[in-house]
C-alpha cells in the first residue's frame, strides 16, 4: 500500500522570518549606534561585548532561519571581536570603520532576503576578506606564542574565563516552536560548537505522550537535555537560544567538572552567587538589565512588548474608523428624536461617543513610534559626510522620544536626510572659515522634535553661514524664477524650493545637484506637512518641518454647498464670518474680502466643483478664512454644519483623483464628503 502524504500544511514560514528580519535590523542598529558613539575611541569591554552580542545574535538567527550567507560575515566579524575583547589583538581605529562596513554588508544581505534587493557579492567578499585578514594576522601571531592552540581556546577565551565548566542545560520549548519556523537542528549544532571536543551530549524526551490521533503535529512536546563542558560563558550558551527561547524555558545547572578537585582553589570556578542562582533559567544578559552601559541588552519594556504586523494594526484602525462612522450615524439619527422621550438613549450615545474616542486614541497610539527611529541614522551619516567634506561637526538630537505615526516616519526620512546633507554641505563652514569668523571650529547640527498643538514639529538647525539672500535672488533671476529684490526674507527663502534651483558653486555627490529642496517640499506636503525656513547671515539656518500627528483621522469642519458637503481640515481654519457688503471688493477682476486691512481672495467652492449653490451672494453665505502653505484665502460656502473627527479614506484608491481634494470620508448619514486640499484649491482658483 502506498499513500502519498499530500502537500505541505500551508504554514507560511515567511511570517516568522519577519521576526528575524526585525530583530536583525535592531541588532544592526544597536551595533551601529555603539560604533558611531565610539568615534575613534577604543571600546571598553562592555561595549565590545555588546557589539559581539549583536553580531552573535544575527549569526544565530540567520543560522536558525536558514540565511547561511549572513552567518559567514557575522562569523568572521564575531571572531575578530572575540580576539579584541580577549585582548589577543590590539585595537586599531580603522576597525570601527571595518565593523561599520561589515554592518553594511549584513544590512545588504538582509535587504536581499527581506525585499529581494540585489546583493553586491564583491562588496561582501571584500569585507569578509578584510576581517579575515585581521583574524589570520592575529592567529599567526598567536601561533608564534603557542604553536598548537586547541580549537576550544577561542571559546575558552571568549568566556573571559581560564577554566572550562560543565553544565546541564534543559530546554523546554514553547509548544509553537516548530510553527515559528525555528530549526532545532541549528540550535543544537550551535550549542555543540561551543562545547569542548567530545564533551557534548544531547537527549530528547517527550514531555507527554498524547494519543497520536488527537495530537496537533505542529506542536512541540519534546524537552531537550544537554550536558556539555565548555569554556564559553553562560551568556553565550543562552544566546544560542535567543530567537527560540523565552527566559523561563531554559534551566542551566553547573556540574562538577571531572578533575576539578585537582585544581588549585583559586582557579576553581566560583560557586554561584545568590543572584546567579536566581537568574538560572533566565537569559544571562537579562540578569543585570540596569547595569550602566549595558549596551545591547533588552530593556524590560522590550521584553514585555509583542510584535504585531503593521497590516493588523492598520486593519484595527480601519475598523475603529468604521466604528466612528457608525457612531456618527447613530448620533445623527438620535438628533431627529424627541430628547425628552429618548433621554436614556441620548445618554448612552454620549457615553458611546466618549468610549469611541478613547478607543480611537488608544488604537492610534499603537501606530506611534519614536522619532529616534529616524534620528538614529544620522550620527553615522553626519560622521561620514563630515569626514568626506573635511569639516568638524557635532550632531545634537533633542526630543527623540517624540512619537509620530509609523507611516509618517517612513515618509519623512528622505526629506530629513536631504536637509541634513544640505546643512553639512552648504550650511556649515570648514573649521578654518569658522575660526576666521570668530566661531568654534566645530559646527553644530541639531535635530529637534517636539509636539506642538496637534502637530509634530521637526527642526534641522545649523550654526553655519546662513542662507545667502543675494545669491538666492540672483540665482532665481538667472533661472527665470519670479522674484524681486524687495521681497521679504521669508519669501526669498521660499525660492530655494523652486524646481531645479541651486546656488551651489559645484555639483557634489552629496547635494547641490539642484534637485532636492523642491522634492523635500513635495514629499513633506504629500503627508500634510509644511516646511518653514528661518536664517540669519553668519548665525545659521533653521528648517522646520511641521507634520500632522496622523494620516488616518483628522479634525474637520463640515460645510455645505448646495446639496453637497465638504470637510475642511480644522488646522487650516482661521475663522469664519458672514461678510458685510462693504467688505467685498474686486481686485483685478477677482473677488476679495477685506479683513482687518488685508484683502483675501474669495474661493467659491460651488464654482471650483461645478455645483448648484443655495447662496450666490457672499454676504448671504459664510466665508471661512483659511491659511495653507503661507497662503490665505476665504472659502465661500452655504452653511457651516459641524466640527467632527473624520476618517480619511483614499478617494484615488476607491474612485479616482479629484482635484482639490485630499481624500474623502463617510459622514454619519452615510454620504461621502470630500476633504479639501487647500493648496490645490488655491492653485485651482489661480487657474480659474
Amino acid at each position: 500500500m502506498t499513500t502519498p502524504t499530500g502537500e505541505p500544511d500551508g504554514i507560511d514560514l515567511k511570517r516568522f522570518n519577519q521576526v528575524f528580519f526585525e530583530e536583525c535590523a535592531e541588532n544592526l542598529a544597536e551595533m551601529e549606534h555603539i560604533l558611531i558613539e565610539l568615534g575613534e575611541r577604543e571600546p571598553d569591554h562592555e561595549q565590545l561585548n555588546a557589539i559581539f552580542r549583536a553580531a552573535h545574535s544575527i549569526k544565530g538567527g540567520a543560522g536558525i532561519f536558514g540565511f547561511d550567507d549572513m552567518t559567514v560575515v557575522t562569523h568572521v566579524m564575531e571572531s575578530l571581536l572575540d580576539l579584541l575583547r580577549n585582548r589577543e589583538i590590539p585595537f586599531a581605529p580603522g576597525m570601527i570603520d571595518l565593523f561599520l562596513e561589515a554592518g553594511d554588508a549584513i544590512s545588504m544581505q538582509l535587504a536581499g532576503h527581506k525585499e529581494g534587493k540585489p546583493v553586491r557579492q564583491e562588496a561582501i567578499d571584500q569585507v569578509v576578506g578584510k576581517l579575515q585578514q585581521l583574524n589570520e594576522g592575529a592567529c599567526a601571531k598567536e601561533s608564534c606564542k603557542n604553536p598548537s592552540p586547541a580549537p576550544s581556546l577561542t571559546a575558552r577565551s571568549a568566556a573571559g574565563s581560564l577554566l572550562p565548566l560543565r553544565y546541564r542545560l534543559t530546554f523546554t520549548p514553547d509548544p509553537e516552536i516548530f510553527n515559528r519556523g525555528i530549526r532545532m537542528e541549528s540550535i543544537i549544532s550551535e550549542l555543540a560548537a561551543l562545547a569542548l571536543p567530545g564533551e557534548f551530549a544531547c537527549r530528547a524526551s517527550l514531555a507527554e505522550v498524547p494519543q497520536l490521533e488527537d495530537f496537533d503535529p505542529g506542536l512541540c512536546i519534546t524537552r531537550w537535555h544537554f550536558t556539555l563542558a565548555t569554556a564559553a560563558a553562560r551568556e553565550q550558551l543562552f544566546e544560542v537560544f535567543m530567537f527560540a527561547a523565552d527566559e523561563e524555558q531554559l534551566q542551566l545547572e553547573e556540574l562538577p567538572l571531572a578533575g576539578q578537585a585537582e585544581l588549585p582553589p583559586s582557579a576553581a570556578a566560583p560557586p554561584l552567587s545568590e543572584a546567579e542562582t536566581a537568574s538560572v533559567g533566565r537569559r544571562a544578559y537579562d540578569s543585570n538589565e540596569a547595569a550602566p552601559g549595558a549596551f545591547g541588552r533588552r530593556s524590560v519594556e522590550a521584553e514585555s512588548s509583542i510584535r504585531v504586523n503593521v497590516a493588523k494594526v492598520d486593519q484595527l484602525i480601519n475598523q475603529v474608523g468604521e466604528l466612528l462612522i457608525t457612531q456618527a450615524m447613530l448620533a445623527q439619527i438620535v438628533m431627529g428624536l424627541d430628547p425628552i422621550q429618548h433621554q436614556a438613549l441620548q445618554r448612552g450615545l454620549a457615553q458611546l461617543e466618549r468610549n469611541t474616542r478613547d478607543l480611537q486614541g488608544s488604537v492610534m497610539s499603537i501606530r506611534l513610534v519614536p522619532i529616534s527611529m529616524v534620528f538614529s541614522r544620522f550620527p553615522r551619516m553626519v560622521r561620514e559626510l563630515a569626514a568626506k567634506l573635511g569639516k568638524q561637526v557635532e550632531l545634537k538630537t533633542i526630543g527623540e522620544s517624540t512619537e509620530l505615526d509609523k507611516g509618517l516616519i517612513e515618509r519623512i526620512t528622505d526629506p530629513l536626510c536631504h536637509l541634513v546633507r544640505n546643512a553639512l554641505d552648504h550650511g556649515l563652514e570648514s573649521a578654518e572659515t569658522r575660526v576666521a569668523n570668530g566661531k568654534e571650529p566645530t559646527g553644530t547640527l541639531c535635530l529637534r522634535a517636539s509636539q506642538v498643538g496637534g502637530r509634530i514639529v521637526i527642526d534641522v538647525i545649523d550654526d553655519g553661514a546662513g542662507l545667502n539672500r543675494e545669491r538666492i535672488v540672483a540665482k532665481a533671476q538667472e533661472r527665470g524664477i519670479p522674484c524681486s529684490e524687495s521681497m521679504s526674507d521669508e519669501e526669498a527663502w521660499q525660492l530655494i524650493f523652486a524646481p531645479g534651483f541651486s546656488t551651489a558653486e559645484e555639483v557634489t555627490d552629496l547635494s547641490g545637484r539642484g534637485v532636492g529642496m523642491d522634492v523635500v517640499l513635495k514629499n513633506v506636503q504629500a503627508i500634510g506637512g509644511r516646511v518653514q525656513i528661518a536664517s540669519e547671515p553668519g548665525e545659521g539656518s533653521r528648517f522646520t518641518i511641521s507634520l500632522p500627528l496622523t494620516l488616518a483621522i483628522l479634525e474637520g469642519l463640515s460645510v455645505a454647498v448646495g446639496t453637497e458637503k465638504f470637510i475642511i481640515p480644522i488646522n487650516v481654519v482661521i475663522e469664519s464670518l458672514q461678510p458685510k457688503p462693504d467688505q467685498l471688493k474686486s481686485v483685478n477682476g477677482k473677488e476679495v474680502v477685506q479683513i482687518r486691512g488685508d484683502y483675501l481672495p474669495i474661493l467659491r467652492l460651488h464654482r471650483l466643483f461645478h455645483l448648484e449653490p443655495e447662496v450666490l451672494a457672499p454676504e448671504r453665505g459664510i466665508l471661512i478664512l483659511v491659511e495653507a502653505e503661507g497662503e490665505r484665502g476665504a472659502i465661500m460656502v452655504d452653511a457651516l454644519l459641524d466640527e467632527q473627527q473624520v476618517v480619511v479614506k483614499s478617494i484615488e484608491t476607491n474612485y479616482k483623483k479629484v482635484e482639490g481634494s485630499a481624500g474623502a470620508t463617510i459622514l454619519g448619514d452615510g454620504r461621502v464628503a470630500l476633504i479639501l486640499d487647500l493648496t490645490e484649491l488655491f492653485m485651482m482658483h489661480r487657474k480659474s
Binding site: 537542528e185 530528547a204 505522550v209
Partner: protein, 108 residues
C-alpha cells in the same frame, strides 16, 4: 514530494521528507496506520525508516510519538532501520534512545 509507504503486514516502511511542512498529512497517515494495526492481533511491528530522506525535529518527534503510541497499545517495534544520514540527524536531535531498536540498512 513526500511519500509514505505501508506494507499490508506489520512491517511499516516510510519514505520521503518528514518535516513540519508535511506534519499534518504524516500524522493523519500514522494515525490511520495505527488504527489498522490495532485491528489486528497485537504482534511486534518492524519499522523501515531507511527511505526517509529529510527529517527535522518536528518529523522526528512525530515518529517517536508514533512508536510510543504503538508501545502503549501493546505493539512493540522490534526493529527500526535508519539510513546513515537519518541516524546522524536523529543523534543530533537527541532522539537516539527512542530509536534504539536500530537495524542497519538492508537487514530488515
Amino acid at each position: 514530494m513526500t511519500q509514505t509507504s505501508f506494507a499490508a503486514d506489520n512491517r511499516i516502511t516510510l519514505h520521503g521528507t518528514w518535516s513540519r511542512e508535511q506534519a499534518t498529512a504524516l500524522q493523519r497517515l500514522l494515525s490511520d496506520r495505527l488504527a489498522q494495526l490495532l485491528e489486528r492481533e497485537p504482534e511486534p511491528a518492524s519499522l523501515d525508516l531507511s527511505g526517509i530522506g529529510e527529517l527535522d525535529a518536528c518529523g522526528c518527534q512525530l515518529l517517536v510519538l508514533f512508536m510510543e503510541n504503538l508501545r502503549r497499545r501493546g505493539i512493540s517495534p522490534v526493529t527500526c532501520t535508519l539510513s546513515e544520514q537519518v541516524a546522524d540527524q536523529v543523534a543530533l536531535l537527541g532522539f537516539s534512545d527512542a530509536f534504539s531498536v536500530v537495524d542497519t540498512p538492508g537487514k530488515l
